[in-house]
């Protein structure tokens, strides 16, 4: 039974990303929204951390946050979400863990 983790804080100032990557299970999902989408910047330390995690998880990001920040996600294995897709994802996974 899988968990959808939601991150919203900047990977530079908060410990959400590092901590989440320690406790994410194989098959879980991670949704980046708000400042957490900074982790999608290619070549960043946070992007490397996302890629270094050995457990297989699925990566998602809120499209409006990526667009607002002008982040190019072409090279990252991430699925962009609108709100209907975000809701559908919460239904697909067994539980949602919103990190604050």
């Amino acid at each position: 039974m899988t968990t959808l983790h939601i991150l919203n804080a900047s990977p530079s100032t908060a410990t959400q990303l590092k901590s989440c990557l320690r406790v994410v299970s194989s098959g879980d999902g991670i949704v980046l929204c708000g400042e957490a989408v900074q982790a999608l910047r290619a070549g960043s330390v946070a992007a490397q951390q996302l890629q270094a995690c050995e457990r297989g998880y699925r990566l998602y990001a809120l499209q409006e946050d990526v667009q607002a920040r002008g982040i190019d996600t072409a090279t990252m294995p991430v699925t962009l979400l609108d709100y209907p897709a975000f809701v559908a994802l919460c239904v697909d996974y067994a539980r949602v863990n919103s990190w604050t």
């Binding site: 968990t3 901590s19 539980r95």
Partner: protein, 119 residues
């Protein structure tokens, strides 16, 4: 069968009221006899330390609430071992009895609950 909640508490006891408000969620679950476990993680592990003196900050002692947890039926307390280690606290005595978990055990703990509430 009642749905179970894992409360993940990540804030330091002296960094505002977030830690206390997280604990209130646990006490409320206990008051209604609902299954709730607490995992202390990141700066949340600091809530469990011995030798703290809240009166120096004119604040209420959070450890009193923590010690009340078993009376409310909340006995499943866990602490993230790597967070203690990162803070130089691997050997420090904990004022509250909590089971130390490694990353894999935390992954299992999350999967064992119906809901996760992270504050």
């Amino acid at each position: 069968m009642a749905k179970s909640v894992l409360l993940i508490s990540r804030q330091a006891p002296w960094a505002g009221i977030a830690a206390a408000e997280a604990l209130d969620i646990a006490l409320a679950a206990g008051a209604f006899d609902l299954p709730l476990s607490i995992l202390f993680m990141d700066d949340g592990v600091l809530q469990l330390l011995d030798q703290q003196q809240p009166l120096a900050l004119e604040q209420k002692d959070l450890s009193a609430n923590l010690q009340a947890l078993p009376m409310f039926g909340i006995e499943q307390l866990y602490v993230a071992q790597h967070c203690l280690t990162e803070r130089g606290l691997a050997e420090s005595p904990l004022a509250i009895a909590a089971e130390r978990l490694d990353d894999q055990q935390i992954q299992q703990l999350i999967r064992a609950h119906d809901y996760v509430v992270t504050l």
